[in-house]
Symmetry: C3
């Protein structure tokens, strides 16, 4: 009994729909129509409208907090109604349903990618398919059927990774004494996530690095907000392993007047003394 | 086993509560107290405060994406605490719980309406009923009990359709060579839904119609956003079958500086040449 | 069968995370990883950033609409990563998981408090624990395990109520002929909740009291919004038993230009005639 309950399939949703319309609700209605058993979890519906890179980084960070086998539906779909493909992709033991527009970029990496299929089998779609809302009419029913046990090979032809649409995500560039990155996300608290990761820093310097952002120099990397007095600007590793600029008890976005895309530079102790 | 799980009752919520208070959460707590088994789905909680017509159009569009038998609770209730009635209404194979203020207007139509009851049986209410929050204290417990199998005739006396409160929803008016409607909703993307439907257009002209909105003329009706170059204004049928004004990759609401209530006119090819 | 389903554990979430990031979603992923069976309900994620008192009052009002045994996770945690403790607290037949920062203040009251434990057993945490997100890495997995039946004594050592961190919440102060309180919350509709309760008033006067707010005098306490004509300012008891200032069909927050912290005074009929 318990075992069966433990197998209730999980479907997550990441979209740019917002919550003010009925879009998210109707997607859930469709999912429940095809897989009454599903547990549906909202990741976020506030991806900036049609911002594929933002959605790609979001799902890259969040999927791994769910059990293997979770079905993740990512609908940021500026090409809806065009001839862009829709993918069912297996990676990292999870299943992803999304337009073939780069939103699954991070899952094409060698050690993550497993296999991908083009969703083409119209028998699996909703009875009537609009030209403006494939999230509801194609992705939701197919995701629901897959979550409820449909064999993935049934959705359509296999597609090689090399034939999928790829995008470039912001990455830090490493030089001998500096790492140059950018702000990739400002969260609800005004914490600024950068494109510079723990791994970027690891290979870099054993000495206390300096972080330069918006003409402000931060000395060293703290381990928690509470390491410093309230109001002070710090750098630390965020809960996803990226360097984050934060203000203890405040908003770094406001304090530094920074936003997504602004440059962040890490200087090694060597470059600091030069 | 699976069959029983597939029968978990679904309850949807449409309100003007917003998500910043505990109102939505406490309604869900009450529902789960009376029907632990329920799957609760948010349609939207961002109906404009006390905007009955907006809620009426919202639930009219969304209910049909859920399985028959779903219980839909619509709480836009400016008359709470007054002597306005509360209805349990069957239509289209679904069940609706809402104040008798017109919010269920579209379900009174001949081919949709089945039967309606006034919710009056205080034994089914919460133990203590406030004068300001019947969504939580009356509608939630009754909806939950109905979802869990309570016979609808138990909620109170039957009421004839003709005794229910009716409202006028925006409808297009059809003349020989023009259809006059209005913008009824601006969505999260700035797409503008009009009161003009596919059916309105169908009976109208075989020639390429023109759509006039805010001194802008749109030629013909496209089938997808991607039919035109980014930034261009188009008209197309939205996923509910209404004419929608959109900008490929942008916001029609911003581009045209339009809002709800603004006039939209469709001209037949005949009227164009006159 | 039904009985087992009726025992699906409920976990509520109250946070200051907002819905724009993946924070809420990943917390849910972790909960489902440790308790697949859980029903997760959002109370609100729009507590003002790091506002402990706001969260304390919110959970104090909402918990009781859920069935006994519900697990409530409250993550407003400005001290994350410091040496502040994390509590598992039993009160009123419910279970609360939160930082030891006062957010559970109302549950320390004599007739509510049952027992409390410090969450310390690292075997119950996520595999890797960040210094910036204990909601996800500690509170979520422990809440999930408790919801799924873990004995509370396993989380760590018992802690006496007197060793927990306490805060002062806004309370009305009662004099012979006046009660002085303040606005503690402005809701989505612009209704203003005050710190003055039904009990405060009960002991006060049998005569029609006057309520003074922002140089405006309200005569008497109404029972429903619809008692007055639209646009009129009234005082009434809100659905939690607090005096609320409202405008029928409008926003008291806008009409009175009031906000949280502003003074509200109730005058007895005696003081009015003096």
């Amino acid at each position: 009994m318990n075992e069966t309950l433990q197998e209730r399939p999980i479907i997550t949703l990441t979209t740019d729909f917002g919550l003010g319309d009925d879009y998210v609700g109707t997607v859930k209605g469709v999912i429940l129509s095809y897989c009454r058993n599903a547990v549906i979890v909202d990741l976020t519906h506030e991806i900036a409208a049609q911002n594929i890179a933002d959605a790609a980084m979001n799902i890259a960070h969040s999927y791994r907090f769910f059990p293997p086998g979770t079905v993740h539906v990512v609908v940021v779909d500026p090409g809806v109604g065009s001839n862009r493909k829709i993918l069912a992709l297996r990676a990292c033991g999870h299943l992803f349903i999304a337009p073939d527009n780069g939103v699954l970029e991070t899952f094409f990496e060698e050690d993550r990618f497993e296999e991908a299929f083009i969703i083409k089998n119209e028998n699996l779609f909703a009875e009537s398919v609009s030209r403006t809302f494939h999230g509801r009419d194609i992705m939701a029913p197919v995701a629901a059927r897959l979550a409820c046990g449909l064999d993935i090979t049934r959705v359509g032809p296999r597609i090689a990774k090399s034939h999928c649409y790829r995008i470039r995500l912001p990455k830090a560039s490493l030089a001998r004494n500096t790492i140059t990155g950018e702000i990739i996300h400002a969260d609800h608290f005004g914490n600024l996530r950068t494109s510079i990761t723990k791994e970027d820093i690891a290979s870099f310097s054993r000495h206390r690095p300096q972080i330069k952002v918006a003409d402000h120099i931060i000395d060293g990397i703290s381990t928690a907000y509470s390491d410093v007095t309230p109001g002070k600007i710090i750098a630390l590793f965020d809960s996803h392993g990226h360097i984050e600029i934060a203000v203890n008890g405040g908003s770094a976005a406001l304090t530094l007047a920074c936003r997504t895309g602004d440059e962040v530079v890490v200087l090694s102790s060597k470059s600091q003394t030069e």
